[in-house]
C-alpha cells in the first residue's frame, strides 16, 4: 500500500544524533582524503534513507500518472501524491490540504504568487515592500511584476554587519500604499531570524498581504502558518531532506480561490472548450501537467523523518551549533563575521582577512570541508555590506561540535596557507 510508503521506516525516537547520522549515506565518505564535513546545508540538505527508499519504492512498485487513472497503479500514485499533500498541510498546520500547492521550489512558489495574485491585484503606484536581506528569489519576481503593473518596490533596511531588520524604520516604509509585504523568515546569508508574527501583524494594520519565504526555516523549526498569521508561505523540499525539484506554496484559501491560474494545461481545468476553459478547484488549479509525484512522496517521507527527530529539537541543535561556531570563529584573528551576535540560526557567513571567499572554499574543500562562497544570491545585500562575496558554513541536525572544531582548525590552516 502506498499509504504506508509515506510512513517513516527507520524510527528515530530519541535524539541519538549518531543514529541520525547513520541514516544519511552521503555523510559517510572521504573527500580529498578527509572525512567529509558537509557545511553547505543552506544550499541543500543531504537525504536520509527513508526518503531515498520512498523514491525507490515508488518507482519500483507504484509508478503511474495521477488523478484521471482508473487502474490500480494510478490509484496508488494518486493516493501517495494526495497523501503527501495532506502531510504537508499537517506539517505547517494549514487549514486544509487544498491550500497546499506543489511547486518546484521556493523560487517557483514566489513566482506563482507574483504572476497571479500580483498581476491581478497590483496597480500603478501600489507599493511592494521587501527587505534588504531578501534572496534573489524573493526580489527578482517582484521586480518583474513591478515592471508589469507599475507598482513600486520599497525596502526595509538592514543594520550593517549585524544584519538585523531595522524595525525602527518599519513605520516609515510600511505605509497604507503597501499592498504586499514579502520577507524572509531566516536570512540565508546572515542567519538572522526575523520576527514573522510581529511583521505580519504590523502589515495587516495597513491592509497589506504578506508572503513569508520559509526556505531556511521550514525544516529547521516548527512552522505554523495559522500562528504566524501570514497569507502566503513558500519553501523548498530539497533543503529539508526532501528530493530536489520539490517545493510548496501555501496560501489562504480565499486568496487562492480569487487568484487566476498561472500555467495552463492538463489537470488544472474542469472543462475545456475550443475557445474557453473552466478552472479546476484548489489546489489543482495551480498544478498544470503531470506533477513531481515521486518528489511529493519523498517530501512527505522527509517530513515524517523530521518530525520523528523533532523540529523543536532540530532547532535547538541548529542554534546551539550556530552559536558555538560563531564563538569559536570569533577567536580567530583577522576574521570578519556577519549576522547577529545572538539568536542566530545555524549558519555563519565570514571573511578571513583579505582572502577571497572562493579561495577559502577551494582550500577548505581540500580538507574535506564543504562550504559555499559567493554572493549567496544576495547581491544587493553584499553591496550594502561593502563586500563582493562571503564564505558561509551552514549546519543541520546531523552536524556535530567535533565537525565545527575541525572546521575552525581548517580555517587556521587556510590563514597559514595564505600567510595572513
Amino acid at each position: 500500500m502506498i499509504a504506508e510508503t509515506a510512513q517513516l521506516k527507520s524510527k528515530v525516537s530519541a535524539p541519538a544524533w549518531d543514529a541520525v547520522r547513520a541514516d544519511f549515506p552521503a555523510l559517510h565518505q572521504t573527500v580529498n582524503g578527509h572525512p567529509l564535513i558537509y557545511f553547505d546545508n543552506a544550499a541543500t540538505s543531504q537525504k536520509p534513507l527513508p526518503v531515498i527508499e520512498a523514491l525507490d519504492r515508488y518507482y519500483r512498485q507504484d509508478n503511474a500518472n495521477v488523478h484521471r487513472g482508473i487502474h490500480e497503479l494510478s490509484n496508488r500514485a494518486t493516493t501517495g501524491y494526495e497523501g503527501a499533500r495532506e502531510r504537508v498541510a499537517n506539517f505547517i498546520h494549514a487549514a486544509g490540504s487544498q491550500e497546499v500547492i506543489f511547486t518546484r521550489g521556493t523560487t517557483e512558489s514566489i513566482n506563482l504568487v507574483a504572476n497571479t495574485w500580483g498581476v491581478a491585484n497590483l496597480k500603478p503606484g501600489d507599493r511592494i515592500l521587501l527587505t534588504e536581506m531578501e534572496h534573489h528569489s524573493n526580489l527578482v519576481p517582484w521586480q518583474l511584476v513591478a515592471a508589469k503593473t507599475g507598482a513600486k518596490l520599497v525596502y526595509l533596511p538592514v543594520t550593517g554587519d549585524e544584519g538585523l531588520l531595522n524595525l525602527r524604520q518599519l513605520d516609515a516604509v510600511l505605509t497604507p500604499g503597501v499592498k504586499l509585504f514579502a520577507f524572509t523568515h531566516i536570512s540565508n546569508t546572515l542567519g538572522t531570524v526575523n520576527p514573522v508574527a510581529e511583521l505580519v501583524e504590523r502589515a495587516r494594520k495597513v491592509g497589506a498581504v504578506t508572503l513569508v519565504d520559509a526556505a531556511q526555516s521550514a525544516g529547521h523549526l516548527p512552522v505554523d502558518v495559522r500562528a504566524l498569521g501570514c497569507d502566503f508561505l513558500a519553501f523548498s523540499g530539497h533543503k529539508i531532506c526532501g528530493p530536489t525539484g520539490t517545493g510548496v506554496l501555501w496560501g489562504r484559501q480565499e486568496l487562492l480561490d480569487a487568484m487566476p491560474p498561472w500555467q495552463g494545461g492538463g489537470d488544472m481545468i474542469s472543462s475545456v472548450d475550443f475557445f474557453e476553459s473552466h478552472w479546476n478547484t484548489l489546489p489543482h488549479k495551480f498544478e498544470a501537467g503531470t506533477p513531481h509525484i515521486a518528489g511529493a512522496i519523498g517530501l512527505a517521507a522527509a517530513m515524517d523523518y523530521l518530525d520523528a527527530v523533532g523540529r523543536d529539537r532540530i532547532w535547538r541543535h541548529d542554534q546551539e551549533l550556530g552559536a558555538y561556531a560563531y564563538e569559536s570563529m570569533a577567536r580567530l584573528k583577522g576574521i570578519r563575521l556577519f549576522g547577529p551576535k545572538v539568536g542566530r540560526a545555524g549558519l555563519v557567513s565570514f571573511l578571513l582577512d583579505d582572502v577571497h571567499a572562493h579561495d577559502v572554499v577551494t582550500v577548505a574543500d581540500q580538507f574535506g570541508v564543504a562550504l559555499r562562497g559567493g554572493h549567496h544570491c544576495n547581491q544587493p545585500l553584499m553591496r550594502k555590506l561593502g563586500v563582493a562575496s562571503t564564505a558561509r558554513a551552514s549546519f543541520y541536525f546531523y552536524n556535530t561540535r567535533a565537525e565545527v572544531d575541525r572546521f575552525v582548525e581548517v580555517l587556521r590552516e587556510i590563514q597559514r596557507f595564505f600567510g595572513v
Partner: protein, 148 residues
C-alpha cells in the same frame, strides 16, 4: 597531501594577487572593457592604450579571488607590446593550459604557473576572466563580458 593545492596557489600567484602589477586606471586608455563573473560577483575593469595594432600600455582594476587577480596581473605583463593577433593566440593557449594543464607551441613563460588550475575545474573561469575582458577590449566590445 596538498600537492594539488600548492600547484594551484604557486608562490608567484600569491605574490601577484597580493601586489598586483599594473593595478591602475589608464587615463590614456583608448579601449576599455568590463569583465564580470556572476558566480562570485567579481568584477574587473580593463584599460588598454593601443598604438596601432599593438598594446602600448595596459592596466586593470577590480576585486576578485587570488586566481583571478593574479591572472589579470600576469596578463598585463604578458600582453604589453603584443599585437592583437598575438594576444588572440595567447588566449587560446592559456585556455588550453587552464583546462588541460599543458599547451602546445612552446613555453608560455610566467603564465605557466597557472597549469595547476586544470585540477580545479570550478576555478578555470576565475583565471579566464581577465583574458575574456582583454579580447573584448581589443574587439571594441561595449557590453560587459561575462564568464557565464
Amino acid at each position: 597531501m596538498f600537492d594539488d593545492l600548492n600547484d594551484l596557489y604557486q608562490q608567484v600567484i600569491i605574490d601577484h594577487s597580493k601586489s598586483p602589477r599594473n593595478f591602475r586606471r589608464l587615463e590614456a586608455a583608448t579601449r576599455t572593457a568590463q569583465g564580470h563573473n556572476p558566480l562570485c560577483g567579481d568584477n574587473i575593469a580593463l584599460y588598454l592604450e593601443m598604438d596601432g595594432d599593438v598594446i602600448k600600455d595596459i592596466g586593470f582594476q577590480g576585486s576578485g579571488c587570488a586566481i583571478s587577480k593574479a591572472s589579470a596581473s600576469l596578463l598585463t605583463e604578458a600582453v604589453k607590446g603584443r599585437s592583437k593577433a598575438e594576444v588572440k593566440q595567447m588566449f587560446e593557449r592559456v585556455h588550453d593550459l587552464l583546462t588541460k594543464g599543458q599547451t602546445s607551441g612552446g613555453d608560455l613563460g610566467k603564465l605557466e604557473v597557472f597549469a595547476g588550475v586544470h585540477k580545479f575545474p570550478a576555478r578555470v573561469k576565475c583565471a579566464m576572466l581577465a583574458w575574456h575582458a582583454t579580447l573584448a577590449a581589443l574587439d571594441g566590445q561595449d557590453q560587459p563580458v561575462s564568464t557565464e
